[in-house]
């Protein structure tokens, strides 16, 4: 079967208050991916632009960004599934290449969250839930994930400190990732210290330290047909498996509160397509928008049995030296979460890991990597498996 390969990856630094416009922000990730792929804009057959709408005044950002990147007159369009937009765009690019429509496609994810205030941002993110039946109660992303945390704690005895350990790990790697927005260490003591901002409650039982850092950023992934990838690239990374699923928007429609069904379903699809099992994964990027989200990801992806995620982080198996390193780039928690750029950044991390180019964050000789990227509160789920 014809494969689809990744031939270039790039991302901007994830920052607070990017001093430029969205097209300039998109340029940063794109330029790095183009220099990585060592190709010219004329080699690209189409571009897919991914972000979450509502942050920008610009209507239909694809055209503006494609023009700024020099990708006119090639086709360009916009893909949106909130926080998993760029993984969904990768899925679409894969199918377009398999169909033979194009042989090289650029996926550009971006988000300039600082266009609006933090309160407005929370309100908009809350509206990624059911605006008719839930938003009138004053819902927000942290509160929804907090409900999952509470249910997980009640079912499995998971503790707040188990969640805090995930943030401590994220900060360990955020410190060594020069593109991360949060570069400082976080300790368990900070979670216990009422004077520390990390310990302040956001939505019980989640605290500031359990929540990802908002950021501005862009990412770019360049994919190519097998023939093109082999011709253009010394070390292509192959897309081995793709999974995607959706879940009810309204919490009232859900029958699992201790995990995300979209992750379980998308994971199953991706493992089956790639012909691998969780044991075969050497390095993973999971969607840790909140610490509980990473805990559930361990269990939903089969790295740990349901309820045993706390043991996996407790024994540091998800650290760089462990049996299944997870988010060794700082994750969304410390690297930052510029919504539309996040999936592309996760994919970039895994591609660099598989090429052995992850620098200080490099895990030992990985062959197969996994990306778990979730949109909304488990509303959309994408799992992508990559291999050398």
């Amino acid at each position: 079967m014809e494969k689809v390969g990744i031939i270039g990856v790039g991302q901007s630094s994830f920052v607070r208050g990017y001093p430029g416009s969205i097209r300039e922000l998109a340029f940063e990730g794109f330029k790095e991916a183009m220099e990585d792929a060592k190709i010219h804009t004329k080699d690209i057959g189409a571009s897919i632009i991914a972000s979450a709408p509502e942050y920008d005044k610009q209507r239909s950002p694809a055209g503006v960004i494609a023009e700024y990147l020099g990708l006119v007159p090639q086709p360009t369009f916009y893909i949106e599934s909130i926080c998993s937009s760029s993984s969904m765009a990768l899925r679409v690019a894969y199918s377009m290449i398999k169909a033979g429509l194009h042989d090289v496609i650029a996926i550009v994810g971006f988000q300039k969250m600082s266009e609006i205030s933090s309160g407005e941002s929370q309100e908009r993110m809350g509206r990624g839930a059911d605006i008719q039946w839930e938003s009138p109660f004053g819902t927000m992303m942290p509160a929804y994930y907090a409900m999952y945390a509470k249910a997980h704690m009640a079912e499995y005895g998971t503790g707040e400190e188990d969640l805090a350990k995930i943030r401590v790990k994220a900060a360990t790697y955020g410190q060594i990732n020069e593109k991360a927005v949060y570069r400082k260490p976080v300790t368990l003591e900070m979670f216990a210290d009422p004077e520390s901002t990390m310990s302040a409650t956001v939505a019980k039982p989640l605290r500031v330290g359990d929540c990802c850092a908002n950021a501005d950023g862009s990412s770019c992934i360049i994919v190519a047909s097998e023939e093109k990838a082999k011709a253009l690239c010394d070390k292509p990374v192959w897309i081995l498996g793709l999974g995607a699923a959706s879940e009810t928007v309204n919490m009232a429609g859900r029958d699992l509160l201790t995990g995300l069904k979209v992750a379980i379903e998308a994971g199953k699809q991706a493992y089956a397509m790639a012909g691998v099992t969780p044991k075969d994964i050497d390095v993973a990027e999971v969607h840790d928008c909140f610490t509980i989200a990473e805990m559930m990801a361990y269990e939903n992806l089969g790295f740990a049995k349901p309820g045993e995620g706390k043991d996996l982080i407790g024994s540091k198996e998800t650290y760089k030296e462990g049996s299944i390193p997870v988010n060794v780039d700082g994750g969304l928690l410390s690297k930052g979460h510029p919504i539309g750029a996040t999936g592309g950044s996760q994919i970039r991390t895994i591609v660099l890991q598989l090429r052995g180019e992850a620098g200080e964050m490099q895990v030992k000789d990985p062959e197969i990597g996994l990306v778990h990227n979730i949109g909304g509160v488990g509303l959309y789920g994408n799992v992508t498996i990559l291999g050398r």
């Binding site: 008719q132 039946w133 004053g138 942290p142 509470k150 249910a151 939505a203 039982p205 919490m251 509160l257």
Partner: protein, 143 residues
């Protein structure tokens, strides 16, 4: 010529409503009468909460209302210390999900039920309420 009346009752739902017009507008009139209602499909008997006007099981649109009654099991909850724009006055408040068996209800815990008294698995009931700003909603209370 008289101006056509717009049925925008749903703008009265919750602290801030983001929807004004829906075929489920009668939900608001029931709330006014003290009733929290879901819908049942007359064709295939599928039960919906929140109420739907169209059945996704049989694709018919022949619904009847039923009242949310008795108690539901508290599946999970969270107390918010920060709220979205427009909800600052309500803080802190607790959102929750109740399981009634055939359906679930998402909403808020009544202010007179302290967070410390809540445990996953306890039984609560759903009651309509008028909010301080005059909007209509429902809350979860002790049976």
């Amino acid at each position: 010529m008289a101006k056509k009346e717009v049925d925008d009752r749903f703008k009265r739902f919750g602290t801030v409503s983001f929807t004004a017009i829906t075929k489920a507008n009668d939900f608001i009139s029931y709330l006014e009468k003290g009733k929290v209602m879901g819908t049942r499909c007359k064709e295939c008997e599928a039960i919906y909460f929140p109420p739907r006007s169209d059945c996704s099981k049989c694709l018919q649109s022949n619904m009847e209302w039923f009242e949310v009654s008795g108690t539901g099991r508290l599946l999970s909850f969270s107390e918010l210390k920060y709220g979205p724009v427009g909800f600052e006055e309500d803080l802190p408040y607790t959102i929750a999900l109740l399981d009634y068996g055939d359906y679930k209800v998402f909403g808020r815990i009544s202010k007179d039920l302290p967070y410390g008294d809540l445990t996953v698995g306890m039984e609560l009931r759903t009651e309509s309420t008028t909010l301080p700003n005059g909007q209509l909603s429902y809350v979860f209370k002790r049976p």
